[in-house]
Amino acid sequence: MTDIKNLTVLPRPRSAWQAMDAGFTLARAHYIPMVLMWLGFSLPVFIVCIAIQFWTGWGFMLVIWWWFKPLYELPILFFLSRALFSEQLSIKQAWTQTLRHFWTLFKTYLTLSRFSTARSVTYSVVFLEMLPRKKRSTRIQTLTAVKTRHYLLMLACLHIEFVLAYAIITLVGALFFASAIADIDWTVFFESVDQPAVQNWMTAASITTLIAAALVAPFYVAGGFLIYINRRMQLEAWDIEHRFRRFKVKALQTGAIAGMFVVALLLSAHEPAIADDRVPNIMSPSEAYQSITDILEHEDFGSTKTQLVPRNKNPNEDDEDNKPDLSFLEWFADSASSLATIFKVILWVVVAIFLGLLIYTLFQFKQSFTRPSALSRISPEGEDAQSHPLTQDLPIDIVGEAERLLNDGQRRQALSVLFRGALRSVMDEHELKIASGATETDCQATVTKVASEQQSSTFTRLLSVWQREAYANQPQPEESIRALINDWKSAFAQHRQPNSGNITS
């Protein structure tokens, strides 16, 4: 049982700001154990989140970690509730108490109430007062009836957390990983999350967020807790009680001196200055002390008492028997209450489905939230075999067509068909994409990378002959072209897929 005489904070009326300040002082006094308590739950959750980020992505991972923040803060609250009354709770005890209250925590703070800005204040009502649900709501309403500024505490802590996180990562990055940061293209940061440099940056950013949150959390919880305590002081007059107690102690010390002083005065007087009957009934210090002690020790002090007093019935009031029977209304109220509970459950289910859909949509259309860079907006994509302009209008029988053109004396066209046919064959076989602007050298580099040795050498020879015929206007010997056609047959014809794409016969 706590006693206000053990309070480590002077009980006096404070504004919300002063209460927060007192909370911060308390946090500074017990900072290290509070940070350790916070890390006790946040670190395992963080590690799990890092592990699952490969499936969920960084954004979702951070949301999950953030969602469980009330869990990390609860041990601090238990610790503070004892520390305020000069008691010490070990880290292990604080964690055990938190686990014992996990289900309550889940129901109250890990569902929709996670978005509550008053968590820092209402925490204490839920976990320290342990009131039933209905009384809890009334209690919270009473506590927050005046301006408690809890939302400003949350905003300030949130901003400090962000500033701290970015300060840490910028400092560490600039000092030790400047070259790695320089490798990151910030204009396409969100499109290149698969790159190692970006992955490393995200890991570092997550770790610094964890560190910053750990540093700020004790102040947030302590600030909120002292706002709560301050409201209780105001509502339950702790300050008055405290003064009474102090007065009692003081009276003990000064009582003897005051008594001697009064006796000396009485003895030194030859005759009373005032007639005895006119002397008011002044209480002696010892009597005052006794009186205060009696009040403090009386069982009624500090308790609430309800007293029923009989009174005479007013003749104007209606007779009880003449009152209409409203019992059906009670039944209706009960039914309505049940119906409201059902609706409440349905509403929760709807909200859960909506949230699920929202998260799913966010994942599906993640790309639409990140604006691509100006260059990528106008960048052409590589084209596959079916849509590539270089391979359009190709006949099905490449070899036959090349031979026909060669027989007609159209050497350039024959080589063009062979060249484009070879390109298309490789693109089909290896599902390659080649840009429209790829020149001979570009095509050769791509083909050499993926094609077989036979295909590569045939392609290289074909290119050489094609370039001389087409660009140098140097007619190539018919025999060498026929030899190329034969080589083409063995290198490319067997890999060709005759039914694919826009092939015209």
């Binding site: 204009t187 860079s373 100006a374 260059l375 106008i378 270089l390 429209s436 020149t439 660009y471 206007n473």
Partner: protein
């Protein structure tokens, strides 16, 4: 029709120049190649790079290697047009006006930090570059051939400069960017320059003249005879016209861009010993020819993209000839 003997000699001389550059300039092979392509194509060059990257040395190397007369003009805000092209002055003895030719009357003119002089002075040089002649006091004088201007500018110090207008930039065949040398090249440079020497740059006297001025003219002549197929010509036109309607480009290249691209592609073919131009030649030199002829849209500029990025993008889209 190309004369194969002359062509072979031109190719050989161009390679001699390339090797000779290698004695003085360490690394920067692409820069040297692009410079030689401009020289072979008979064009003028705008070189951009931070100070200390051998821009002036590059120009002097060219003059030494080809036994050309070279002159360096340091462009400053108070430089007057007559300081470049020359002026007429009264001769008291003869009682007549005599013309004193300016430093522009040289084969290789190095216009150092061209953007530091006001527009009037810049245009005096640019007129000489275009017309290959200058007018002094109404008298037209031909410039010596070959006449090559190598202008340099510093990309980082923009205060107190007069950026060249788009129309004047068009006069340069290529804009060459010089980047820092690789660590290995820099080490080699360090050892070569400081070896038993108190100088802070390579001794140009080590350089030998490897070709004559006539050889240089023959190189230019041979390059102009290299054949260009109609499909390749169409490819060049397609590239240049694409710059005018490309999404990321505000102002595209003009017809002089097409002409320059063809000339440069021919010179590149010559440098590689080919007597015909392929789409590869065009694509390889297109960036150097077009980068100073286009102006990017503001959104691309804001996002930090350069003309090179956009041209690379464009070249991937313009269909290469295949038929």
């Amino acid at each position: 029709m190309i004369d194969q003997t002359k062509f072979a000699a031109a190719h050989s001389n161009l390679n001699k120049l390339r090797d000779n550059f290698g004695h003085v300039i360490i690394g920067q092979q692409q820069t040297i190649d692009e410079l030689l392509i401009c020289v072979a194509a008979g064009g003028h060059v705008l070189i951009e790079g931070v100070p200390g990257l051998a821009k002036t040395l590059l120009a002097r190397c060219l003059a030494y290697s080809a036994q050309a007369q070279d002159v360096r003009i340091q462009f400053t805000p108070d430089l007057m047009p007559s300081d470049i092209v020359g002026h007429a002055m009264f001769d008291h003895d003869q009682q007549t006006f005599t013309v004193r030719e300016g430093p522009v009357f040289a084969n290789v003119v190095v216009a150092d930090e061209i953007n530091r002089a006001p527009a009037k002075t810049q245009s005096a040089l640019l007129e000489a570059m275009q017309e290959q002649q200058v007018s002094i006091e109404g008298e037209t004088r031909e410039l010596p051939q070959p006449f090559i201007v190598l202008a340099t500018q510093n990309p980082i110090e923009q205060e107190g400069t007069y950026p060249l207008p788009q129309a004047q930039l068009d006069r340069f065949l290529c804009k060459i960017l010089i980047d820092y040398p690789s660590p290995n090249d820099e080490l080699q440079m360090l050892q070569k320059i400081t070896h038993e020497s108190i100088a802070n740059q390579l001794d140009l006297s080590r350089l030998q003249a490897v070709i004559s001025l006539n050889d240089l003219l023959d190189i230019q002549q041979s390059a102009s005879f290299i054949s260009v197929d109609a499909a390749v010509q169409q490819y060049i036109v397609n590239i240049v016209t694409s710059t005018r309607k490309w999404n990321g480009i505000d102002i595209g290249a003009g017809p002089r861009g097409s002409i320059s691209l063809l000339r440069a592609a021919r010179a590149r073919a010559l440098l590689h010993g080919a007597d015909f131009v392929t789409p590869d030649d065009v694509k390889a030199i297109a960036t150097a020819v077009l980068r100073h002829r286009i102006q990017l849209t503001p959104d691309l500029e804001i996002e930090g993209y350069s003309a090179d990025d956009v041209i690379a993008n464009l070249l991937q889209s313009v269909e290469a000839p295949r038929k």
